[in-house]
């Protein structure tokens, strides 16, 4: 032990003397160039191993859904939930889409799909139109009290829907919209408003204020600035809002079940009725095909939009 120390000492003193003699010449045998890195270091194996396990866990349900939906019922009864289908059958998908029964209707999820589409399109358009103009007014045309209403709106987002469900039934009934798809569109517009208004307000606030001032000097008014200056500059945030609303409204269950009649139920409600119906034999493969079908729209949007989806939820959440 002591030897090594002396050795090290001598070595360094030798190096020192060498350096002196060589007039500032550094030790040529020391580390030089890029620090060596091992690709399969213990840290990396641990890190990637953990991540792969986690990834497998998160992917597992999707995998189970897919394999189950392509199996026949006998295979499901006998085999293992994780094993891939021995014999691929498309029958469950066809049954789920066109034949599965809810109550008296036996025309499958397709009915719910088209209902959802009918609800989705006007809801997305209306909620975004209203919220973007709102957010613009809040960002650039503040008036006395505007911030107060905005604060109420944001806090309103935290009120459990259950508190407002019944009075809204009364409101819709008074307006003659209860049980009608347009009533549900209105409900989606109302409950989408806090998050969307926040999203747009924050975005419009982040645009340079001088641009707005320049447009005013140029004589553009409220709508002129909105349509000519703000909207063309805000395409990304509109895309984010569309993603947010499409997934949110498509996935809605509560409003759909309360504010529509059974023949207008959106896809999620119909899906739940198909899968959790107590009558008849359970067809797990059909159930999983139906579940996948319902999840397909938001999943497609998610995988296509990628970063924008993340940006949407982060923008909506972080600044909230």
């Amino acid at each position: 032990m002591a030897d090594t120390i002396t050795l090290a000492k001598t070595r360094s003193s030798v190096a020192d003397s060498l350096r002196c003699q060589g007039a500032g010449m550094p030790d040529p045998n020391g580390p030089r160039g890029a620090k060596p890195r091992r690709r399969f270091s213990r840290r990396n194996i641990f890190l990637y191993g953990t991540l792969i396990l986690i990834g497998a866990y998160y992917l597992l349900p999707l995998y189970v859904m897919i394999v189950t939906s392509f199996k026949g019922m006998p295979e499901i009864r006998l085999g293992n939930i994780f094993s891939p289908p021995v014999e691929i059958t498309y029958q469950p998908w066809i049954r789920a889409w066109a034949e599965a029964c809810t109550g008296l209707n036996c025309d499958g999820l397709s009915r719910g799909f088209w209902n959802s589409v009918q609800i989705l399109i006007p809801s997305v358009v209306l909620s975004i139109a209203v919220a973007s103009v709102n957010g613009y007014a809040l960002a650039n045309w503040k008036f006395k009290g505007s911030e107060v209403f905005f604060t109420i709106l944001i806090f309103g987002a935290f009120i459990p829907y259950q508190v407002m469900l019944y009075p809204i039934v009364i409101l819709l009934r008074e307006l003659g919209l209860f049980g009608d798809l347009s009533g549900l569109v209105l409900v989606h517009t109302i409950f989408g408003m806090p998050i969307l208004t926040l999203l747009f307000r924050n975005y419009f606030t982040s645009l340079p204020e001088e641009l707005f001032k320049a447009a005013r000097v140029d004589g553009a008014g409220f709508w002129g600035i909105y349509f000519r200056i703000m909207v063309p500059m805000s395409i990304p945030i509109f895309v984010v809002a569309v993603i947010l609303q499409v997934t949110g409204i498509w996935n809605d269950f509560l409003f759909g079940v309360i504010y529509t009649r059974p023949d207008q139920y959106p896809m999620t409600v119909q899906l739940n009725n198909i899968v959790n119906s107590v009558q008849g034999v359970k067809e797990y493969n059909v159930n999983m095909a139906a579940t996948l079908l319902t999840g397909l729209v938001p999943l497609t949007i998610y995988f296509i939009s990628g970063k924008l989806f993340v940006r949407g939820i982060a923008a909506g959440a972080v600044k909230g």
Binding site: E210, L211, K213, A214, V217, D218, G219, A220, M233
Partner: protein, 362 residues
């Protein structure tokens, strides 16, 4: 009020946001064709004032006249002003041409006239080759030129500039500064220019209004502001490196600073004073002479050098005079080392005296 040549008049303007008073009873008149610079540190209300003139902010009280017309409640686009912003504020989705013509289109001007004006502005600013480009494809200097062009096409009497050069690098800033000055000489419009940069203010202005706390501290030509600052704030704000202030007492025989007496006979007093007045004497570092010249100066003393900051063309030397830090300028080629004792002197006639109680010029 008999002079009709005022282009912009700001009369007793107040502006407060809640309990914060940003502008306080501010009155300012700007001559026809004048280049007025509003100068001050951030938060002094200079940009706020400009926004009030433009009509982008509503005043709480008072009036604003442009060309003799009360525009206090007028929309920005109806005030006869053009404005250039710090961040250029070009509409990113429109081409340069679109940017220039947007305001004219909004005003419902016939197409032929729009084209004529855009062409003229482009010619003056030499941006003709850029007309079809989008702002993103322009350099900072080009963008600012387009922003000026947008004000130019409006063919207005008053140009408002809100720190237009702050986003540019030093060299470009110097170039565009000259260009703005040239533009003013060509167009002879009234221009109101907000900046925090005193070099810009000194070089461009016919008159400078130095602002602090929402009020004008001094309004005068660059020469007046530099040589006869009205109060200690202005004296300290203008000039770089800033003025030396030495505490002392002013009496009949001159300014007594510890054991020195500075003779003040050449000094042009602004106010009458009598008896002993605690005051500051302010001397700009460039007004101090050293070496042989010091001995010939009306007042001379010696100072031990503490620190030297070479700046190329000259050297800034730090020392102490009467126990207070004292800076002076020397030639860039001079050799001077810390510890050296230097003779130095100045002419008290060019110095400034301020009352220590009121901070006003004596």
């Amino acid at each position: 009020m008999g002079q009709p040549s005022y282009s912009v008049e700001i009369h007793k303007v107040d502006l407060s946001f809640g309990s914060v008073e940003v502008l306080k009873d501010l009155t300012l008149s700007i001559h026809e064709g004048e280049f007025l610079v509003l100068l001050g540190s951030s938060g002094c209300g200079k940009s706020t004032l400009l926004n009030c003139i433009a009509g982008l902010l509503d005043v709480s009280d008072g009036q604003i006249f442009i060309k003799g017309r009360n525009v206090t409640w007028e929309e920005p686009s109806h005030r006869g002003i053009g404005m250039v912003f710090q961040s250029y504020a070009l509409y990113p989705q429109m081409s340069v041409e679109g940017n220039l013509s947007f305001g004219l289109k909004n005003a419902g001007m016939p197409k032929a006239e729009i084209e004529k004006r855009v062409a003229r502005a482009a010619e003056i600013l030499q941006i003709e080759p850029l007309l079809k480009r989008k702002p993103a494809a322009l350099s900072g200097g080009q963008r600012q030129r387009v922003a000026i062009g947008r004000a130019l096409v409006r063919d207005v009497d008053v140009f408002l500039f809100d720190e237009p050069l702050s986003n540019l690098d030093a060299k470009l800033r110097a170039d565009l500064r000259v260009e703005i000055k040239r533009l003013h000489q060509t167009l002879k419009n009234t221009m109101i220019y907000v900046t925090h940069d005193q070099v810009e203010a000194m070089t461009l202005a016919d008159r400078i209004a130095i602002m602090k706390g929402g009020a004008v501290q001094q309004l005068g030509s660059p020469d007046e502001i530099y040589n006869r600052p009205q109060n200690k704030y202005v004296a300290d704000f203008i000039g770089s490196p800033s003025m030396n202030f030495v505490e002392g007492t002013l009496n009949g025989s001159g300014m007594r600073v510890t054991d020195h007496t500075i003779p003040m006979n050449g000094y042009a007093y602004s106010t009458k004073h009598s008896g002993e007045t605690p005051s500051w004497i302010g001397i700009r570092p460039e007004q101090v002479v050293t070496g042989e010249a010091a001995k010939a100066a009306p007042f001379s003393t010696t100072v031990e050098v503490e620190l030297v900051e070479p700046m190329g063309s000259d050297k800034l030397v730090w020392g102490q005079f009467a126990g207070m830090p004292f800076r002076f300028r020397m030639d860039g080629q001079a050799t001077v080392l810390p510890g050296e004792v230097m003779p130095l002197g100045f002419d008290p006639a060019v110095a400034s005296l301020f009352d220590r109680a009121t901070e006003q010029r004596i």
